[in-house]
Each structure stands twice: as structure tokens, then as C-alpha cells.
């Protein structure tokens, strides 16, 4: 009789534990009847680092500037300059610089012109002085962000400068964009 009672108690305990286990499983996997949701967990494990490497393309035209004068030039002994007519001016060819960002990071691009030590009162201006280029998008090199800047000259060139000479330098600055942590 006693053995029967002990056996019944063990059986009851086993059944109770079995129900408990089922209850935990149900809580984790079943949300609505007939629908099963399986939790998917993931984490990034890797030994290699993503390398930040900049890759930028710069293209420019022939950058030829000619100062055209249509009227007579008269020497002014007071100012030591030639007087020129209002129709005179600069004719430019291939005066555009294009920068394209193929990096995996954004880049700040700036353009500037520095006049060479040449006789003349001319100054140079870039149409775009600075612009941020977005980082390249994976698998889309043809859609890389780019910017164009055109150089224009104002003022005059010394009338004696009849042969081709270097008028200045264009500097393209490529600065890393500071990102917020």
C-alpha cells in the first residue's frame, strides 16, 4: 500500500514537471494558434577590419585662356598701362575641373585658384568653391557623387604677354568629413 502511494507521488511529480516544460516551450514559440514564430538572433564576428581608403577621380580640361583685344592699344605714360576697349576680354577653353568620389567615406572638396607671377591685373574665380561629396554606394560605381567647378578670369593681361604662359594653379583640396560618433 505504502509502495503504491510513493509510486503515485513520483508519477504525479513527473507529470507536473512535464506540464511545466510544455508551458515554457509554448510561451517562447506560439503567439497565435496555427502560427509559429521562430526567434532569429545574430551577431557580427570577424577578424578583418573595414579599411577606410579614399579613392577620388579628378579630371580637367586644357585650361587655355586667351585675352582677346579687338581695339587699339594705347600706352598711357602716366599709369604705365595700355588702355583697352570695353569689348576686350578673356576667352576660356576646357576650364572645368571635375571631382568624383569613389571612396567608402564622404569627402569635402574645395577649389581655389592662385595667380602666377605674371604681369597682369587678372584674378581667377572658381564657380564652386566647396562641396561635400557623399560616400560611394556599394555596387553602384556609376552613381558616384561628383562636383564640377569652372575657372573664370577677370581683369587684363599685360599686352606684351603674347606667348603662352602659365597663369596660375588650381588647388583641389580633399578633406575627410568629421563624423559624429
Amino acid at each position: 500500500m505504502k509502495t503504491k502511494k510513493v509510486f503515485a507521488a513520483i508519477l504525479a511529480l513527473a507529470l507536473a514537471m512535464g506540464f511545466g516544460t510544455t508551458a515554457f516551450a509554448k510561451e517562447n514559440t506560439h503567439t497565435t494558434p496555427g502560427t509559429e514564430t521562430i526567434g532569429v538572433e545574430g551577431s557580427y564576428v570577424g577578424t578583418g577590419n573595414l579599411t577606410d581608403r579614399y579613392s577620388v577621380k579628378i579630371e580637367w580640361g586644357e585650361m587655355t585662356f586667351t585675352y582677346n583685344t579687338t581695339g587699339d592699344r594705347t600706352w598711357d605714360p602716366e599709369t604705365h598701362t595700355y588702355s583697352v576697349t570695353d569689348t576686350d576680354g578673356w576667352k576660356a577653353s576646357g576650364n572645368t575641373v571635375t571631382v568624383t568620389n569613389h571612396s567608402n567615406l564622404p569627402v569635402d572638396v574645395a577649389f581655389s585658384f592662385t595667380k602666377a607671377d605674371v604681369n597682369g591685373t587678372y584674378t581667377g574665380t572658381m564657380s564652386v568653391t566647396s562641396q561635400q561629396l557623399a560616400a560611394g554606394v556599394e555596387n553602384k560605381p556609376a552613381e558616384a557623387d561628383s562636383v564640377q567647378s569652372t575657372l573664370t578670369l577677370d581683369g587684363t593681361l599685360n599686352a606684351l604677354q603674347t606667348t603662352s604662359t602659365k597663369l596660375g594653379d588650381i588647388t583641389v583640396s580633399l578633406t575627410a568629413v568629421e563624423t559624429q560618433p
Binding site: 579599411t51 577606410d52 581608403r53 579614399y54 579613392s55 577620388v56 577621380k57 579628378i58 579630371e59 580637367w60 580640361g61 586644357e62 585650361m63 587655355t64 576646357g94 575641373v97 569613389h102 602659365k166 596660375g168 594653379d169 588650381i170 588647388t171 583641389v172 583640396s173 580633399l174 578633406t175 575627410a176
Partner: protein
């Protein structure tokens, strides 16, 4: 007799004065020679023509199959790849960096590293398809640096491969320089 003595004394004084002046002149000329030989700062100027010597540390990038960039006549098209971290070991008088002129570029390049507007390293000619990972510091450059961090700059100069003339466009890239003894 006294007048003769005075005259003799005066003559002797003049002689000493002359000797003293000559000695001063000698000291001044020795000092100038020592300064000119050992302490004069010789500015490093960007060459107007590409150096005849190719950069000795330049290595093949292995991208010969890449198609050349389209370039207008008289213009230029370059692609540059780089990182903005430079490491300098003073005892080795060498900078570790990454800079490449990919095969698709149409211009030769020269790389300068500047700290506070002073050129501390300058490469030889880096042809298209070449990359560098180290660069020797210029003579005396190590003496100007101390262990620590510097805001430096890459200056990239482009040269026409046929005429070796410097082009109108150049590039400036701010870099972080870490110096250790």
C-alpha cells in the same frame, strides 16, 4: 723725444685696432660659413618638371587590366587612392603611409608630406599603376620633429607623362601624422 714716443704709441694703438677689426671680421666670416653649412634652412620647392628618378619604394598595384580614364587633349584625368594616416619613426627617418596612382590615371605624380608648411618628405615620380607604403624623410626633417601627433598634409603634384611638365592642377589632402622616436 716725447712727441716721437706719442707718435709711436699712437701707431701701435692703430695697429692693435686694425688687428682687432681683422679678428672681428674673421670671427664673423667663420660664423657665417658655419651657419651656411650646417644651420641654413634650404626650402624644398615643388619641381616644375617631374624628377628623373622614379620613387624607389613604388610597387606595382597589379591593376594593369584597368582601362585608362578618358582625357581631353591638353587636359588631365587622374585617380588617386590613399589613406589619411601617416606614421613616422624618427630613428628610421621614414614615414609609413598608403598612396597609389592607379593604372587608369593619365598623369605621373609626385607626393610631398608637409608639416606646418615645411616639406618633410618628397617622393620621386610615381607612375600610373604604382603604390607606395613608405617614404624616406628629407635630410634634417627628423631633427625638426618630436614624438607626438601633427596635423600634416599631402600635396600631390601631377606631371604630363610626355613632356614631364607640371600641370595646372594640384591636390592638397589633410592627414594625421603620428611621430614616434
Amino acid at each position: 723725444m716725447a712727441a716721437h714716443e706719442r707718435k709711436k704709441e699712437e701707431k701701435s694703438r692703430t695697429k692693435w685696432l686694425l688687428l682687432f677689426l681683422l679678428l672681428l671680421l674673421l670671427i664673423a666670416s667663420i660664423s657665417i660659413t658655419i651657419w651656411a653649412l650646417f644651420f641654413r634652412r634650404v626650402p624644398t620647392l615643388a619641381p616644375d618638371y617631374a624628377p628623373r628618378q622614379e620613387e624607389p619604394y613604388a610597387e606595382d598595384m597589379g591593376d594593369d587590366s584597368d582601362e585608362k580614364l578618358t582625357q581631353v587633349e591638353g587636359g588631365g584625368a587622374v585617380s588617386l587612392t590613399y589613406t589619411t594616416e601617416v606614421h613616422i619613426v624618427l630613428s628610421e627617418e621614414r614615414a609609413t603611409l598608403y598612396f597609389a596612382n592607379p593604372s587608369k590615371s593619365n598623369q605621373d605624380m609626385v607626393l610631398q608630406i608637409l608639416v606646418q608648411d615645411v616639406v618633410i618628405a618628397q617622393s620621386g615620380t610615381i607612375l600610373p599603376g604604382k603604390q607606395i607604403e613608405k617614404l624616406d624623410l628629407l635630410e634634417d626633417a627628423a631633427a625638426k620633429l618630436q614624438p607626438g601627433g601633427y596635423n600634416g598634409e599631402f600635396v600631390v603634384l601631377y606631371y604630363q607623362p610626355d613632356t614631364h611638365e607640371k600641370t595646372i592642377v594640384n591636390t592638397e589632402i589633410p592627414v594625421n601624422i603620428t611621430v614616434e622616436s
